[in-house]
Symmetry: C2
Subunit: 296 residues, 2 copies
Amino acid sequence: MKIGIIGGGAIGLLTAAYLCNRHDVTIYTRRLAQANLLNRENLRLVRHNGERTVPVRAVPLEEAQIDADVVFIAVKQYDLPHVLENSHRQWPPEATLVFLQNGMGHLRWLAELKQENIVVGIVEHGAFKQDDRTVVHTGIGKMMLSVFRGHFGLAKQLFHDPIPRFFIGCEHDWRDMMTKKLVVNAVVNPLTAVLRVRNGDLLRVGPYQEMMKLLFSEVRSALELNDGEAAWNHIVQICEKTAANRSSMLADVERGRKTEVDAILGYVIACGEERKVPTPLSRFLFHAVKGMEGRE
Amino acid sequence: MKIGIIGGGAIGLLTAAYLCNRHDVTIYTRRLAQANLLNRENLRLVRHNGERTVPVRAVPLEEAQIDADVVFIAVKQYDLPHVLENSHRQWPPEATLVFLQNGMGHLRWLAELKQENIVVGIVEHGAFKQDDRTVVHTGIGKMMLSVFRGHFGLAKQLFHDPIPRFFIGCEHDWRDMMTKKLVVNAVVNPLTAVLRVRNGDLLRVGPYQEMMKLLFSEVRSALELNDGEAAWNHIVQICEKTAANRSSMLADVERGRKTEVDAILGYVIACGEERKVPTPLSRFLFHAVKGMEGRE
């Protein structure tokens, strides 16, 4: 089928690299230079045991008339408003849109879209963009999709045709799925960024684990989690599985880039306000990460 | 007069260096090696515009029978119990004891001492110990003393005989004086240590200043400060005056040393508990600093 991928970041390139052997994939980039580079030199996928080059088609988003059955929107939440602005012009009404953002603040925007089939997804792969045509796949995870409105449409094919090292599964309850990911991001990302430690250190260093418990307890109240114990166990599991990894937020502050703290802690703080639950630690960390952005 | 200085750290060496031209000074060190070095090679005082060598007498504390009119106790709060243990054997009952620790948790120990004249002091100099016989005087401030019990005794002479670059003044209310210093230490030290920034960055970077306000507001409630505005202005003033400095807590975590976080935030947390004032940020930062100790 025809697949469009909006966004030439790590997740966009990774998704393109794995899907383009089976499907007709087009990457829509923000910058013309990246599209030109991808068309001229192809996409490069690097894994620990080697690399391969994948021919791909790329088009700058600005001038594109998107023609696809399934469109993955793989930009950060803070870039999403720009992408959604001209959405009606850009994609065919019958296409299934798959949104891959962290956080949950953007879901109210999706509710306003005219599109019939809207899917949200979470990505548990480790990946970073080495340069405009190269993505490094550092940790094999999975991509889980869930229907936010309508149905999967042609995106259903993705489940029936498994790709090695790039499993795509489906979840029944989009809210559960997104919340579970948000809780991990809200606890692990800001702490690792502010303390400048790897994910595993949050478990290994006693006082850091205490911080994690205090923050988790606050996030749990703000989001009114039903099963706190399961959520905590999930965090511990993720920290164990990704012990040697630097979180994306840590990587962002280390490179002086904008982080996703608005989408993540900003959402927790807003939920707390709505429910009259105080969120002193989230606010404190929010300012800490904001202060670190662009300073390295 | 005869002055004893217990502690061969930055403050002990600095005090010895400035007082020993006018008085008969003995430094009591924890380690024999430091005492031997000081006796053999003398004390070195380094300033930005030069240095001088000061002959000094040093004795290991363990074997000392202290003979002095005024005894400065210039060890960190966490080393104070060890010094106080054998205090009766070690210093003459008529001596004035001057305690120079940060924090306020140790004041209840002082109340239990048999000594008649007990003075507490705060040190606003910038100084660090370069090696066992060398102290670098990086910022000229002052030493303020206040009577905790009894009277100044012979320590009064210190006010009448001013020493260039080492002003010693007296304050009427020891509690006010110590609290004012504690508030600065509780806000500036942990934030600079965790964020790894210089004192001035807490004012210069907007989100860091927000963190400082949130933490200050909590400390203010926990300590029941009467004049919050004055306390806040004092913090701002200190950050401006020491903008280029690394706080002692930042220096400690950078060198993997034990910090004074127990004496400082530990005391704030204990005050909050006593007054049923929640101190989530102090607790959070307490764990952060504890986790950073010994990790660099």
